[in-house]
Assembly symmetry: C2
Homo-oligomer: 371 residues x 2
């Protein structure tokens, strides 16, 4: 894990072995996380944090298995891998939602505090409130790592109650409204995740992953296959998608693009965000492919990680902006609440723009150095 640079002299003797080995490792991690999750009680108060970590680990493995099945598709039994992928996507989506709502609330409350001139809300020691630098506090790295309370458990949100003493009435009410709405969504997501993990659908996924841990279903021709072109194709898909992004605009600071249509009648999600979200997914696939090819070079190039962080921040800010806009459509709210939500929405759209700028800056450097 310590090596940060790719070693071009490292060649894999039997290419398919690299894929099979990578999948076996991820499958083993998956099963280990599942065991931990069950042992920690699936989210009861005692083992809440371990349980949440286990759920995130499950999701992490599921995403890597799914991505690898996709990128190295020709090496693997087609029927088997085509049936497993949507199930892994369902699982990782279901497992990620609770965490996403918690992180979104955290991001919005932090922003409300910043906008009110209050001391930045200490989100468990991270600096998520500083929008100008890509921080490690994106959803994936868990700036806001809430416990996983059982529905109806004592702690509806794991972060300390925000200090609303310095907030205006509007900001305080906006914070309370968002807290209510996103905590409710999070509690539901938590229930849905627990339900999913007890379902027969999940057990079928777990069985498939167990197979993967012992024997990866390769095609007969897999051992003679060359991984390079498949990984290169993943990189090409990323590069092509990036080419389609408005990077020239994104590279001009304060281009004010992200807030265009900020008051348009079209509801969220913002259509202009979609290509960036797509690049985020393709960047992840590219990164996983590099992990398969260069297991000794994990984590990969820090600039690739920084580009990914920028896109995570883009996604988080985009969704937070939508949540603020959605909260403003709550019937019978006070004008001061609506005003604060408007400021908050625009603030998060600026974050969207800032993230695009950050990505553009990373990518410029990346374009030179990516192998």
């Amino acid at each position: 894990m310590a090596q940060r640079h790719l070693d071009p002299t490292n060649t894999t003797a039997a290419p398919a072995d690299a894929v099979a080995g990578y999948l076996r490792e991820r499958a083993t991690e998956f099963l280990r996380a599942l065991r931990t999750h069950r042992e920690t009680g699936g989210g009861t108060a005692s083992g809440a944090e371990e349980s949440t970590d286990a759920a995130l680990a499950l999701r992490r493995s599921a995403r890597r298995i799914s991505g690898t099945l996709h990128t190295f598709r020709p090496l693997l039994d087609a029927d088997w891998s085509e049936s497993l992928r949507p199930e892994l996507a369902w699982l990782s989506g279901t497992l990620g939602r609770e965490h996403a709502y918690a992180a979104r609330l955290d991001r919005l409350v932090t922003a409300l505090n910043r906008l009110s001139g209050a001391t930045p809300f200490p989100a468990q020691g991270t600096a998520q409130g500083t929008p100008s630098k890509p921080v490690a506090g994106s959803r994936a790295t868990g700036a806001a790592r809430p416990g996983a309370p059982a529905p109806g458990a004592a702690a509806p949100h794991a972060h300390p109650a925000p200090d609303r003493g310095n907030l205006t009435v509007g900001a305080a009410k906006a914070g309370a409204l968002l807290d209510r709405q996103l905590t409710l969504a999070r509690t539901r997501a938590h229930s849905a995740a627990l339900q999913a993990l007890g379902s027969s659908r999940f057990h079928a996924v777990a069985d498939s992953v167990a197979v993967l841990a012992s024997e990866v279903p390769l095609t007969p021709t897999a051992t003679a296959a060359d991984l390079g072109p498949l990984a290169a194709a993943a990189h090409d898909r990323l590069r092509d998608a990036v080419t389609g992004l408005p990077l020239h605009t994104a590279g001009r600071p304060y281009n004010a693009e992200a807030l265009i249509h900020g008051l348009s009648p079209d509801t969220a999600p913002h259509p202009q965000d979609a290509p960036w979200h797509q690049v985020r997914l393709l960047l992840r696939l590219h990164r996983y492919a590099l992990e398969v090819l260069h297991p000794e070079a994990v984590p990969v190039d820090v600039r690739l990680l920084a580009a990914g962080e920028a896109l995570n921040r883009h996604r988080d800010a985009s969704e937070a902006a939508s949540a603020a806009a959605a909260a403003a459509r709550t019937p019978r709210i006070a004008p001061a609440t609506a005003y604060a939500l408007g400021v908050l929405h625009a603030d998060q759209r600026h974050e969207v723009e800032a993230s695009r700028f950050a990505f553009q800056q990373c990518w410029q450097k990346e374009a030179v150095s990516t192998p």
Copy 2:
């Protein structure tokens, strides 16, 4: 007016003559503008545009005279110039207000259209709606040059009625509210300006300026004085004030500083804007001093003008943001209106931040090239 670069070989033989000559020219312009203003009826419908232009020309001359009296104070009869300066400030403040309200409304309606994804509102052919580049559309250069309707005249605002077809209800209502409030303020400012121009206070100012046009009251030692140190002192005051600005932060795009306290209980104006406003004034004084010293090099260095434009845009956006916040405090507005005003406020604060960035970029270059 065509020369853009300072000519270091041009030396003024008798320094005080340069000041006296400059003041005489400005005073003559002042009297000419006053005559035009009276001939065009002081703002009746027939001569509205000429009348507005004349009022702006009056203001332009008044500001230059006042600035010159300040910078080259030791050359001029102290009692006389100390009594004239506040009167000129009063006049230029009174004359500028109507135009400022009109420009503010134009800026806010343009922003509402942009935020609603509507075609940018064509403000008489300029691109004021494009916030990423310093445009010529700041208040001083008259992107929104409204007519000067008499109170109760047919045209309450000279720009064509904005197309609200594409706006959401909230944006449309916010636009209507701002239109009502700023048009009222503008009409009052117009009346106040007309009243001022008919007052005995104004006639006393005009008399003083008439004296200036024929004979500038220099001190006995003025002819032996050196203008250089006085102009240099004006430049030093500017440089010192710029040193006090948070330029390092301003130079990092998306630093999110301008929106800090955006929801704070303190009302507008934003205290963080004050040092920038101060630099704007000092930059203008520096520019006028250069005009005195180098009359052949007017307009001065384009980068100095660009820095000034950035600060004008800063001031305009700051005041527009305050106007949006103030409108949101109107009792009994709909939540959708308040939400739109919140987005608008944040958008204009973002413009404030963008203007600081633009100034920082100009200044970096300027620091190298200023004589």
